[in-house]
């Protein structure tokens, strides 16, 4: 329950600021390539650097947290590369990262609403169909 409430509050703040700043975690790289505009790219870098500094600090304050190491076998790495490529490529075509699409949908952009419909249906599709197929064909 703590996690649910915390994530709702985090989301509220992120959504509010995201709408005000038009933040997009994909648009930064796109804008830099297209028009050498660094506004959104700076946001992406700021997010990464802040988290990079905050992780060890938080670990220091919280004390020894149990580590839950992610699997790092070859198949996982290849899947991560393929998935990452797809996220970047399709998000660029879709004109924004998932966060940006949520924000646009919230301010009345109907194409982002259909994006979200596909997004959430995609989650079901993934676990009902895509993941089992992947499990079957991968070693």
């Amino acid at each position: 329950m703590t996690a649910a409430v915390a994530s709702l509050l985090v989301g509220l703040v992120l959504g509010y600021l995201g709408q005000r700043s038009r933040m997009c975690f994909v648009g930064g790289i796109r804008d830099f390539i297209l028009v050498r505009d660094t506004a959104l790219l700076e946001g992406l870098v700021a997010f990464g650097v802040t988290a990079w500094v905050a992780f060890p600090l938080a670990r220091l304050v919280a004390g020894g947290l149990p580590d839950t190491p992610a699997p790092a076998d070859v198949v996982t790495v290849l899947l991560t590369i393929g998935g990452g490529l797809g996220v970047g490529y399709v998000s660029t075509l879709a004109n924004g990262c998932p966060l940006r699409q949520h924000v646009l949908a919230a301010q009345g952009v109907a194409s982002s609403l259909t994006y979200l419909a596909g997004f959430f249906l995609g989650a079901i599709l993934f676990h009902v169909w895509v993941a089992p197929v992947l499990f079957r064909i991968l070693p």
């Binding site: 970047g88 998932p98 997004f119």
Partner: protein
């Protein structure tokens, strides 16, 4: 609040710039999001897995699958952090953005150009993100957490964005 009411249909409203200067910059948002993501993961039980503080794809998946599991007693995958009750980041972002857009008179309906296409984009991005283990935000977060596989995913995502942008530019200048 009168401007909150949608006024007709505009086809260009998606990224139409306002004349007022932006007071909240992307850097502000990035810093706040970074602090919140780490805090949520470390102090408020938004874990495991590690570096799970903010993710639009995984948290959205958790919410959808948890709801379906609760309603139909199915066994769709949910992250351990969402077992008891689903993470509501996506709901929060939506409501937060509604509040911000409403407060600043930026809510207006824009009819979709290609609803089938954007639907497909959403579907694909969710599937790719679940394969990679994170949306754009969480791949960045995993990189910041020093997770090697996560940074590989981030580099792949950046490469995908570069390819996508080249494709957009090529199509525009053809």
């Amino acid at each position: 609040m009168t401007s909150y009411v949608a006024s007709g249909f505009s086809r260009t409203g998606a990224d139409e710039e306002r004349t007022r200067p932006t007071r909240v910059t992307a850097v502000h948002t990035g810093i706040v999001a970074g602090v919140l993501a780490v805090a949520a993961g470390t102090f408020f039980d938004v874990r495991p897995p590690d570096a799970y503080g903010i993710c639009m794809a995984c948290h959205g998946r958790d919410l959808v699958n948890w709801t379906i599991n609760a309603a139909f007693a199915t066994g769709l995958t949910v992250a351990p952090a969402s077992l008891a009750f689903p993470l509501l980041t996506t709901v929060g972002v939506f409501l937060g953005a509604v509040a911000a857009a409403g407060r600043h008179g930026e809510f207006r309906w824009v009819t979709p150009d290609h609803p089938a296409k954007t639907f497909l984009y959403g579907l694909l991005v969710m599937n790719f993100a679940l394969v990679a283990g994170g949306c754009a935000i969480r791949l960045t977060l995993r990189t910041a957490a020093g997770e090697l596989v996560g940074s590989v995913g981030f580099i792949a995502m950046a490469a995908g964005i570069v390819l996508g942008t080249w494709w957009l530019r090529w199509r525009a200048t053809r």
